[in-house]
Symmetry: C2
Subunit: 185 residues, 2 copies
DNA sequence: CTATACTTACCTATCAATAGGTATTATTGT
DNA sequence: ACAATAATACCTATTGATAGGTAAGTATAG
């Protein structure tokens, strides 16, 4: 693993716990075994590092999701698939969604970081909208599908946060169980 | 207004934009016109200030909500009333819920602050549970009402965050419009 | 006289960032 | 093949700003 990757991994770990201000060049450098000044070689400023972090997170998340059309073709529920990715982040990683945290503090974020965080949400809404359109076929419209996408993403982000602060994975289960009745409405 | 109150107000403003690390003793002192060392007279440590902030926010929010039983008696929908408080925070204040932000970064918060943040969510779930029980009478159970409470609070917190990062109040409207179908389920 | 509400004057730690330097490894021109 | 060039991946040392926190002193009101 390159030092650059190691720096991003260390930064992601810390950012997913306490946000943008929860990682510093010094700490990251110590963790990967270089000097803090050398971090500036890979990332000129902290803003650049933060932007790359959000960008990489978005790319990894979206590529892990795959194509919703493929899932529907294989008779898999893409929404359940989607919820599973969030469940994994919460239960296995025991951490928040990086962009969920960045999103909450977005008004205090450097511009580049904010833009990449925004892109995460737009791309996720697009993915969900397509998933719902493919799953429900003629029973929905682009607007209705997009509204459901916004609803699902909001609920997942919110319940993830509640689960973290109340230290209870059950909270996430409760909230996500109530997604289905909405979908069938 | 006392300096103590002014400090809390300034801290709340900053914290609701960028979280716990977005306010400092120096900045707060400058804003209210005292020296940073004098802030320690009112709040021994930043942890104490943060805890008081979350505590005061919770008290103000709960007392602004009033008693859900009273609302039901006056034929008002307590859930709509509740959603209105969040809408106000987002539209009028143009800021996140303080505890929504603290909740997202709760694993990096000093203990006292984390505990008061946790209390905010427990008290809000209790309020919503009672509201649903009073509104739906024999049509619900304590468990079902609590689950709905968790669902509503998750959705509100999540949609508030999405609205902030996407800079669109419509997102909040879309997400909250979909609360009612769930309630009637 | 004494508690309240500050002030001045510090401290130590940490922050992101910069300047200037050193090996090591690739690339390129002849 | 070999030397010149340049990019890669770091280093030490330092800057100016900012962080939270402390001790000792001062003004003021009851």
């Amino acid at each position: 693993m390159s030092k650059r990757e190691a720096l991003l991994n260390a930064a992601e770990h810390k950012a997913r716990i306490g946000g943008y201000s929860n990682f510093s060049f010094r700490e990251l450098a110590n963790e990967v075994g270089i000097k803090s000044a050398s971090v500036h070689y890979h990332f000129p400023t902290k803003e650049d590092l933060g932007a790359e972090l959000a960008k990489r997170y978005t790319e990894n998340f979206l590529s892990a999701l795959g194509d919703p059309e493929e899932l529907v073709k294989l008779s898999q529920d893409p929404i359940e698939h989607y919820v599973g990715k969030f469940r994994h982040a919460l239960i296995a990683d025991q951490k928040m969604c990086l962009c969920g945290l960045f999103g909450a503090e977005s008004d205090a974020l450097p511009n580049k970081v904010k833009l990449h965080t925004k892109a995460f949400f737009l791309k996720n809404i697009q993915w969900l909208q397509k998933a719902i359109e493919k799953r429900e076929g003629a029973n929905t419209t682009p607007v209705k599908a997009r509204n459901k996408a916004v609803f699902i993403l909001s609920l997942l982000q919110g319940s993830m946060m509640l689960s973290k602060v109340l230290d209870s994975n059950e909270i996430f289960s409760i909230a996500t169980t109530l997604i289905e009745p909405i979908n069938n409405h």
